[in-house]
C-alpha cells in the first residue's frame, strides 16, 4: 500500500522532475564543468584550468557589459518601482473604468518581448518614428533615441519599464488591497494627511511587496537580452551591450562555450551579491 502510494507520488511529480533535470539541473552542472574547459561545441573539450577566469578579468568588453547593465538597472528599477506603485495607488481608488485601465496596463506583460521590441524600434526611429514626429509637431528637435550612445540605454530602460510595469503594478495592487481600511481610518483620526498616510501606513504595510518587486526586477534586469538583441544589437559603440547579450555572443557567435559559462557564473554571483545587499538595506526588522 505504502509503496504503491509513493510510486504514485513519484509518477505524479515526474513531469516536473524530468523537466527540471533536463533544463535546470543538467545545464547548471554542465556549465560548471565547462568553466574549466575550452569547447567549441563540435570539437573535443580541452581542460584549461582557470584560464577562462584570467581571460574574464582582462576582458574590457565584459566589464563594459556589466557597466551597461548597471546603468540600465539604475534607470529601470527606480522608474519601474515608482511608476508601478503610482499606477497601483491610482487604480486602487474608486475611479471610472478601473478594470479597463488595470487590464490595459497589464497587456504589455503578456505580449511577446520580441513583438514589443520591434514595435518600439519603430516608435524610436530617428527619422520616421512616431515619437520624433510628435516632438517635432510640438516644436522640439529630433532625439536620437537608439542611435546615440547617451540615449540608447535609457531608451531601452524606458521601453522595458513600459513592458513590465503592469506585472509589478498588479503585485503592488494586491499589496495595497491587503492594507485594512481601518488602519487608514485610525490614521485619519490621528490627523495624517494623504501623503503622511502613504508614508507611514502604506509604505511600511507593503514593504514585503516592495522587497519582492525590487528583487524580481533586479534579477529580471540583469538578464536583459531581447531588447538590445533585437533593437540595437548592442550598439551604438557597445553602449547597449548587456551582459547576457555578451555571453550569448561568446557562446553562440564565437562558440567559446567554456568562456560563456564562466561569464554566466560570474553574472549569477553578481546578482546574488546585489540581491543580498538589497535585502539587507531594505528589510525591516520585525
Amino acid at each position: 500500500m505504502n509503496r504503491k502510494l509513493s510510486l504514485m507520488g513519484y509518477l505524479m511529480s515526474a513531469p516536473y522532475i524530468i523537466y527540471f533535470i533536463i533544463f535546470s539541473a543538467f545545464p547548471i552542472f554542465f556549465s560548471f564543468f565547462l568553466i574549466f574547459h575550452r569547447w567549441n561545441i563540435v570539437g573535443p573539450m580541452k581542460w584549461v584550468g582557470l584560464a577562462n577566469f584570467n581571460m574574464m578579468f582582462s576582458d574590457p568588453l565584459f566589464w563594459t557589459s556589466i557597466y551597461n547593465t548597471i546603468i540600465f538597472l539604475l534607470i529601470h528599477i527606480p522608474l519601474q518601482v515608482v511608476v508601478a506603485l503610482v499606477l497601483a495607488e491610482v487604480l486602487n481608488q474608486k475611479i471610472k473604468a478601473r478594470a479597463f485601465f488595470r487590464a490595459a496596463f497589464f497587456m504589455p506583460v503578456v505580449v511577446s518581448g520580441v513583438v514589443v521590441t520591434i514595435l518600439w524600434k519603430q516608435l524610436y526611429s530617428t527619422d520616421t518614428g512616431l515619437l520624433n514626429n510628435l516632438l517635432m509637431a510640438i516644436g522640439f528637435g529630433k532625439v536620437e533615441w537608439l542611435t546615440s550612445t547617451a540615449m540608447a540605454m535609457p531608451s531601452i530602460a524606458l521601453m522595458a519599464t513600459w513592458k513590465n510595469v503592469g506585472l509589478y503594478m498588479i503585485l503592488f495592487l494586491a499589496g495595497l488591497q491587503s492594507v485594512p481600511a481601518y488602519m487608514y481610518e485610525a490614521a485619519d483620526i490621528d490627523g495624517a494627511t494623504t501623503l503622511q498616510k502613504f508614508r507611514y501606513i502604506t509604505i511600511p504595510a507593503i514593504n514585503p511587496v516592495i522587497i519582492m518587486v525590487l528583487i524580481l526586477s533586479t534579477i529580471g534586469g540583469f538578464s536583459l537580452f531581447i531588447e538590445p538583441y533585437v533593437m540595437t544589437g548592442g550598439g551604438p559603440l557597445n553602449s547597449t551591450l548587456s551582459t547576457v547579450l555578451y555571453i550569448y555572443r561568446q557562446g553562440f557567435s564565437f562558440y567559446k562555450m567554456g568562456y560563456a559559462a564562466t561569464l554566466g557564473f560570474m553574472l549569477a554571483a553578481i546578482i546574488f551579491v546585489v540581491v543580498l545587499i538589497q535585502r539587507k538595506l531594505i528589510e525591516q526588522d520585525d
Binding site: 485594512p180 485610525a186 490621528d190 490627523g191
Partner: protein
C-alpha cells in the same frame, strides 16, 4: 470637552438603504452615552458619522457649537477606539500611542510626558518597545486606549472596543473605561451590542433598531420602563418573558392563555379595560417570577434547571407555554418537578400586539 448634538441626522447608503433615520440626540459635556442595539441597527454608522469617517446624508452634527458635517476627522478633535484595535503593526507601542501627537507637531518632551502618563494609567509602561503582534488582545486594546487618551480630545468614541476580548478581560477593561471617564470627565460615546456593557457603563443609553432610536434614558429607567416590546426584550439577561393571551372581564380582568391564565391585579386594570376581548402581550422579567411555597399560583413543570452558582435559571413549561425564571440558588427544585409560580405583578408589563408599544 464639548457637547455633541445630532439633529435629524439621516444616513442613506446606495440611495435607498436607510442606515440611520431622523436621529436626534443631545449629549452634554462630560456625559457617557452608550448606543446599543442588535447588529445592523445603525449604531456604528452614527458613531462613524460623528467621527467623520462616514458622510452625513441629511441633518447636522455639532461638536461644541460648530457644525462638523464637512470637517475632516482630524479637525474634529475626537479620538476613536476601534473594535479590532487598529494599531499600526509596524510601529512599537510608544510610536503607536504618540503617532497622532507627532503628526500634530507636539513638542517631543510633551509627547514623552503624555505617553508616560497614559501608560501609567493603563499599566502598559513595560510594553513600550513591543510591536502590536507581540501583545495580547487586552494589551492591544489598552494601547489603543492610550493612543486616544494622549490626544486629549474633546470627545472619545468607542466602537465596540471590547467585543474581541474574552469574557474576563471584557469585565476588566469595562471597569477600566469607567474609571477613565471618572478621571477625565470627557464626553464619551460608546457603541455596543452588549446590553450588559450598556447598562453598566452608560449614564444615558440609547437603544436603536433599524436606524431608529427606540428609547433614550438612564439604564434603570430603560430597564424598568421600556417603551416597547423590543426594548423590553433587548435589555436584560435572560430577557423578558412574553406571553400572548386574551383579556377577559369576569368579575375583574383575566389574562387568558389556556392553562396559563391568571387574574390581572397589578393596578394596570384601568389601562387594560379597553383591551377586553382582544389579544395582549404580557411581559414579565425572569427575576419577577418566584416559586410559591403554598398551594396558590400557576402550576408549571421545571424542564431545565441551569445552576449559575449565584442564582438558578428555571426553564418552566406548561402545554405550549414556556417561561424562564431567575430564582435564588438555595431554591429546592429539581428538573421534572411540578411547581407553582407567582408573578410580581407591579413589575409586569403589557404590550399592544399591533403597535408593540407598552400599555
Amino acid at each position: 470637552m464639548a457637547d455633541v448634538v445630532l439633529k435629524d441626522v439621516t444616513k442613506i447608503f446606495d440611495k435607498e438603504i436607510y442606515a440611520v433615520k431622523d436621529f436626534n440626540i443631545e449629549i452634554s459635556d462630560g456625559e457617557f452615552v452608550v448606543l446599543v442595539g442588535p447588529s445592523g441597527c445603525g449604531k456604528s454608522t452614527v458613531l462613524r458619522m460623528i467621527a467623520g469617517l462616514e458622510e452625513v446624508t441629511q441633518g447636522d452634527i455639532y461638536i461644541g457649537d460648530k457644525i462638523v458635517n464637512n470637517i475632516a476627522p482630524k479637525e474634529r478633535d475626537i479620538a476613536m477606539v476601534f473594535q479590532n484595535y487598529a494599531l499600526y503593526p509596524h510601529m512599537n507601542v510608544f510610536d503607536n500611542i504618540s503617532f497622532g501627537l507627532k503628526l500634530r507637531k507636539v513638542d517631543s518632551k510633551e509627547i514623552e510626558k503624555r505617553v508616560n502618563d497614559a501608560a501609567e494609567i493603563l499599566g502598559i509602561n513595560h510594553l513600550m518597545q513591543r510591536k502590536p503582534k507581540a501583545l495580547s488582545g487586552g494589551e492591544r486594546q489598552r494601547v489603543a486606549l492610550g493612543r486616544s487618551i494622549v490626544r486629549q480630545p474633546k470627545v472619545f468614541l468607542f466602537d465596540e472596543p471590547l467585543s474581541n476580548l474574552d469574557a474576563k478581560l471584557r469585565v476588566e477593561l469595562r471597569t477600566e473605561i469607567s474609571k477613565l471617564h471618572n478621571r477625565l470627565k470627557t464626553t464619551m460615546i460608546y457603541v455596543t451590542h452588549d446590553q450588559v456593557e450598556a447598562m453598566t457603563l452608560g449614564e444615558k443609553i440609547i437603544i436603536m433598531r433599524d436606524g431608529v432610536i427606540q428609547q433614550k434614558g438612564t439604564p434603570v429607567d430603560v430597564y424598568d420602563n421600556p417603551v416597547n416590546k423590543f426594548v423590553a426584550g433587548f435589555i436584560g439577561s435572560p430577557s423578558m418573558n412574553f406571553i400572548t393571551g386574551q383579556v377577559e372581564d369576569t368579575q375583574g380582568l383575566l389574562f387568558n392563555r389556556g392553562s396559563l391564565s391568571f387574574p390581572i391585579n397589578s393596578g394596570a386594570e384601568d389601562k387594560l379595560k379597553e383591551f377586553v376581548g382582544k389579544d395582549i402581550i404580557f411581559g414579565i422579567r425572569p427575576e419577577d417570577i418566584s416559586i410559591s411555597g403554598k398551594e396558590k399560583g400557576i402550576p408549571m413543570v421545571v424542564e431545565i434547571l441551569e445552576m449559575m452558582g449565584n442564582e438558578i435559571y428555571l426553564h418552566l413549561a406548561i402545554d405550549q407555554n414556556t417561561l424562564i425564571a431567575r430564582v435564588p440558588p438555595d431554591t429546592k427544585v429539581e428538573e421534572g418537578q411540578k411547581v407553582k409560580i407567582i408573578f410580581n405583578f407591579p413589575k409586569a408589563h403589557y404590550f399592544d400586539p399591533d403597535s408593540q408599544i407598552r400599555i
